[in-house]
Structures are given as structure tokens and as C-alpha cells.
Amino acid sequence: MRWIWIDKFEHFEVNVAARAIKNVSLAEEHLHDHIPGFPVMPASLMIEGMAQTAGILVGAARNFQEKVILAKIGRASFARLVRPGDQIVYAARIVNVSEQGAAIEGAITVRSSTAGAREELPVGSIDMMFSHIDNNLAGAKFPEFNFVFNSEFMNLFETYRRDLNVQLPAASAADDK
């Protein structure tokens, strides 16, 4: 099992917003372990799914040059359970992005079908903040190597963006040297 909590992007507008989906399968261990006998998707892992969706959106805004780390979950509320067979939709919107980091508003919905009728219903909302850790306000130093957006991630991103035309910003002048 890999720490990958979204399956693909449906929409990706650099600097603005992204929408990713995750299909929930009964084959996944965590569904069985969370509430034995009543398989539901844990809210904590939906926060992770939103963090992956939003973190990639924040990374793309700076062409994956920054080390983007989830630094704060300002608010998270959940109103509906997500069950096997459902499809989770993570919609992340950039509220603000600066050299130091970014603020994100996220909305989670679920697409499910009951007796053949498909519907999309609200699940929850999350406000989160990401830090560009090399420019963070604490002044701490980190390794030069980008351990967030490494080659393994970039390969994954190629899979994610395969169906989409994602226009990344040009590399900065400093990177061309």
C-alpha cells in the first residue's frame, strides 16, 4: 500500500483551484480498521486527501520549486459518512499564496448511487495552510534537495495530469542559470 490518497485530477487550474477524486474500495484496510463492522472512510484520511490535492496545487503555483509542507488545519468539519463504493471529490481553492506559504479552502463532496440514481452530496469543509519551508518565518534551514516534490512525485504527477492540459508557470530566471 502506498501513501497516495487521490486517484486522479479532474480539474487543475494553476494558481486558482484543483479538483481530485478518490474511489473508495472495500479492499482498503483502513475501512475495516476504523469502525469494525461498519466500514467508513476515516475523516483523518479525507484531510490527508485534501492535503495532497491542495499541496500539489500550491506546489504547481511555484513550478514545484518550493518544499510545500502542510502546516496548519485551521478548521475541519464533516457532516456525512463516506462508504465503500463512493467516490470522494476534493475541491481545493487557493485563498492566498505568498513567498512564505499558502492558504487553502477545501470542500469535500461524495458521489454515490442509491438504487441506480447518482447524486453528489456535501461531506465537509477544511481550511488549511501550507508553508514554503525554506522561506518560513521561523528561519530554520532545510536540506537543499526537494524531498517533497522528488522524482517519484513528479512521475505520479504525470499520471495525475494525463487527461488534463496543465500549464505550469515557466521556471524562474534564477533556475535557468
Binding site: K72, G101, A103, M129, G139
Partner: protein, 127 residues
């Protein structure tokens, strides 16, 4: 019409109660953001974003905190005398006696009180 200091305080208080998840009555003018209200470094970015939105102002990078990547101002995680002097000029309402004794950059945020933020916003609004 220019906002009064009390009006600015009310809006700053709103920002801090949201960003730091503290109660209204904890946000007093002399409360320190870190030691009294529990703010961490990412909270300062949250507060900056929310102040910008709430007051329609722009808070440029390194205005509240010195540029830690500038060897002129910060060396080995400590403010240089020039760094301290610059911070004093830019933020005259901060009590920097602690920083002068120990110029560790991570300690700068401990100097911020609610009142110093209100004063900072007042200067931005009148600029």
C-alpha cells in the same frame, strides 16, 4: 473616514480569535501572541493573510520579520546589530529588550503583543 484605534482593535481581535482559536476575552492589548495566545510561526502567516483581507492592506514579505536569508541582517540564526537596528526602525512599537539581550531570530515573534499588531495596522492604514 479613518478607523479609530478601538475599531482596529475589534477587527484585529476577530482575526486573532479565528487564527489562533482563542476566546474573545483572552485577546487583550497586552497579550503576547506566542506566550499568551499560543501562536506558532505558521500562525503569523495566517494572521498576515487575514489582516490583509480584513483591512484591505498589503503586508510585504520581511516587513514584520527580517529576511532570514540576508547575511547582512541575520547570521547563524541571530540578528546582526544592523538587523536589530532595522527592526527597531520598522517596528518602533515592539518591545525589543529581550531581542537585544538574545538576538535569536526565532525569538522575534515573542515580542509581538496584540497592541503592537494594532499599532502596525494603524500605520499601514495611514500610509
Amino acid at each position: 473616514m479613518a478607523m479609530t484605534k478601538d475599531e482596529v482593535f475589534v477587527k484585529v481581535k476577530e482575526v486573532l480569535t479565528t487564527a489562533l482559536a482563542v476566546d474573545d476575552d483572552e485577546v487583550t492589548p497586552d497579550a503576547h501572541l506566542t506566550t499568551d495566545l499560543g501562536a506558532e510561526s505558521i500562525d503569523f502567516l495566517d494572521i498576515i493573510f487575514q489582516l490583509e483581507k480584513s483591512f484591505g492592506i498589503k503586508i510585504p514579505k520581511n516587513e514584520l520579520m527580517p529576511d532570514t536569508n540576508s547575511p547582512d541582517l541575520v547570521q547563524n540564526g541571530k540578528l546582526t546589530p544592523k538587523g536589530v537596528a532595522e527592526l527597531k526602525t520598522r517596528m518602533p512599537f515592539l518591545d525589543l529588550t529581550g531581542i537585544e539581550a538574545d538576538p535569536d531570530v526565532t525569538k522575534i515573534k515573542d515580542a509581538f503583543t496584540v497592541d503592537s499588531l494594532v499599532n502596525y495596522v494603524m500605520t499601514k492604514l495611514s500610509a
